[in-house]
Amino acid sequence: MTEPTSEKLGIILDRHRRDGTRLMQILRETQEALGWLSPPTLTAIAQGIGWPRAKVEGTAGFYSFFHTRPMGEYRVLWSDNITDRMLGSLDLMQAMCQKLWLEPGRVSEDGLVSVDTTSCTGMCDQGPAVLVNYRAIPRMTLARVEQMVELIRTRTPLAEWPQAWFVVEDNIRRADILLGNDMLPGDALKVCLARGADQPTMETASNERSFREAIHTGDAGPGATLDEIKRSGLRGRGGAGFTTGLKWEACRNARGDSRYVICNADEGEPGTFKDRVLLTRQPNLVFEGMTVAAYAIGASKGYLYLRGEYRYLLEPLESVLATRRRAGLLGRNMLGTPGFDFDIEIHLGAGAYICGEESALIESLEGKRGVPRNRPPYPVTNGFLNQPTVVNNVETFAAAALVALNGGDWYRRIGTPRSAGTKILSISGDCERPGLYEYPFGVTVRQVLADCGAHDSQAVQISGPSGICIGPDEFDRRIAFEDIPTAGAFMIFDMRRDIFDVVRNFIHFFAHESCGFCTPCRVGTTLLKNLMDKIAAGHGTRYDINEIYNLNRVLQSAAHCGLGHTAGNPLVHTLEKFRPAYERRLTSLEFEPAFDLDAALSEARQMTGRDDAAAHLATEPEASR
């Protein structure tokens, strides 16, 4: 390792206090500084943080955005969600590769550039999108491809590329209480503190812990805030829908030395991009919600786990945090209240869908491979650094801030009796106005389709590949926990689309994103992918369809986490609802022999001069296909 290199590394290590739990950030910053993570670099990092080298290499090798091999000065990654493909991403990528004399996935001979695909980058409403050195560029066109190739060839630094390319649109089409919110920073916290005004403060409580915890639950203090959250009926917006108030209460009541609040902004579900916009337009609402949670459970440290694809949001969010610190809304003795201490740190992911699973996210936050933990115990009792931890989605925290401000009863009146509040839908695919639509719970799919200008819709994939696929006969179903629960992805496919291509794209995604911990998911997702490729190549039979069902059963019952449980969902849902999309690809519905007996008889027919029906082995009429 050269001297300037080790000097750069030393600065990065020192900045992170040579703390192994900060390994992800150390690896990212090192890669940004040095281009890639070479074997000597990994050795030096391992020595710097005092970890076994193999463990550091194991973390580096887990995440798509870390490279332990050089990947070129310019790394172009094409978002490979089905919505990007529908907007022409594959042709554009091919054009780019041709102009650069490159094969996808390979680095150019001169080490200048590599081009490849990556999982959905969350720009579905403005695709096709790319990441260039992990900076997002939406709305790619052939003209942009040509310009970009030229900029790469001339080694123009990214900072000198057209700034308009990097503009990410918010596309808010329908705003409600969250997206249309104009709360001033600190307002919700002031209401929280006012609720506890007549309660003991630091002067009367013997220490900070008792200040936070002595009031178990009641009409004042942190307990009062918790009660409002419980009264609101707020449920998690990440997809699982766990009751937020119960989660916070369990964390508050768990034994621990310290407590943590984690905001899950690892928005990896293909077709979802609402958190990106919330963090762009309403970062204060999200941070305020995290601070409300900290107040309610007695935490003094919070993390925002931001997906690596949203790297461009890091500096703007850091500056919002700095403003909040200056305003006394973060830091020590917030709003002049002794003992009310809380601060938030942003942790950037590095391209691993599985880190959206809360226990995998915590592992990643600790510098490890993002592998879901065995549960129980759950994060509320044994989370970050084995301490009680609340992990909630971005949208959940934003809603919690509004609940703290306006009260639980106000919130509960919005939506349906069993699904309180609003839901932000990320709409993409075949419609006139893709973007964000915030509705009170209970809206029908048909209404949403009408609002976004979707015509001739054949199917809607709700909640991403792991969600459900519905056809026109189900468009009167409602977005609500009691009917169609969703984290917000809403991808529309009109009659021109081939549902088989959609599903094949999804299973490729799951195979790529499986963490590999358990046998059924590690091997099973690849087997499913291979089966779909076989059918796509025209070699499929009904036997392969049965195999899909069998593998799905094994995944559902034996996989370690939700990724494996749901990986087969898009296949079996569409097999039930869109079976012709599969069957028209099958060579035979029954059995396809490798050997064609009738063709083998052609020589005999020629010799005998016969070509009548009795000289053929047509056992079944053609119509039975």
């Binding site: 193999a54 590690r522 291979n530």
Partner: protein, 244 residues
């Protein structure tokens, strides 16, 4: 303490507080197929061979705490079918050629194949490219047979205190690596006497110059099927309340 019981395929199984379903079953002499579980280590739950149904819901018996009154199903057609599929997945994922493998007859993967009646690999082989590592003077690493149970990783970290092994990659690309910049076992402080050298359930970690010391036909699982070895898998000591 042993007053508490649950049922396993209708049979009453006593258990001590803190035991998993797997530990209680093995203590009672009832075999549940497993690969990543080892009596001397904390449960891991990755191979999924020990998946059972507990009160009607699938769960890994090695990570589920035993509780009074549980109804556990293990030896049912449905569960056995799934276990066979899992074994077949492992067989096609790596490169397993039993007739030429030094571990044949001592191999848990092979023994479970016989136990559960796996007659074919069923799926197409993946034939991954996994070069062997013969750099260590006393030990050969044949990654072709690795089933990623992580027992060597755990043994090296927790017993030997050496951290010789770790995992890299993700998904189907996940693989075992060695703690050296060269990636070679010869450049680590690994020793044949390490616990990590003793725990591999398949034929990855092999002692050099000791090939076929016991003739095939007279080996551990040649003599009796793996389920008859249940005594060897009994929990070794009362499990202290370690981290799960």
């Amino acid at each position: 303490m042993s007053e508490q019981t649950f049922t396993l395929d209708g049979q009453e199984i006593p258990f001590a507080t803190g035991q998993s379903v797997m530990q209680a079953a093995l203590s009672a002499g009832v075999f549940i197929p497993h690969l990543c579980y080892h009596p001397e280590f904390r449960p891991h739950g990755s191979c999924k061979l020990c998946t059972v149904k507990i009160n009607g819901r699938p769960a890994t018996s090695c990570t589920t705490p035993a509780a009074a009154g549980l109804e556990v199903e293990s030896d049912t057609q449905e569960i056995l079918d799934k276990r066979r599929t899992l074994l077949q997945m492992l067989l096609v994922e790596g490169n397993h050629f039993c007739p030429s493998c030094e571990k044949s007859g001592h191999c848990k993967l092979q023994a479970l194949g016989y136990e559960l009646g796996v007659m074919t690999p069923h799926f197409n082989h993946f034939y991954p490219d996994r070069p062997v590592d013969a750099s260590h003077p006393d030990v050969l690493l044949d990654f072709n047979r690795c089933i990623l149970c992580e027992l060597c990783i755990r043994a090296s970290a927790e017993v030997d205190g050496k951290n010789v092994f770790a995992l890299a990659g993700r998904g189907i690309g996940k693989h075992l690596i060695v703690n050296a910049e060269s990636g070679k076992l010869g450049d680590t402080d690994f020793a044949l006497t390490d616990k990590a050298a003793q725990v591999c359930p398949v034929g990855v970690i092999l002692a050099k110059r000791q090939g076929f010391a016991v003739p095939i036909g007279q080996r551990r699982f040649d003599a009796a099927p793996i389920s008859a070895h249940v005594d060897e898998f009994r929990p070794v000591a009362p499990q202290a309340g370690g981290k799960p």
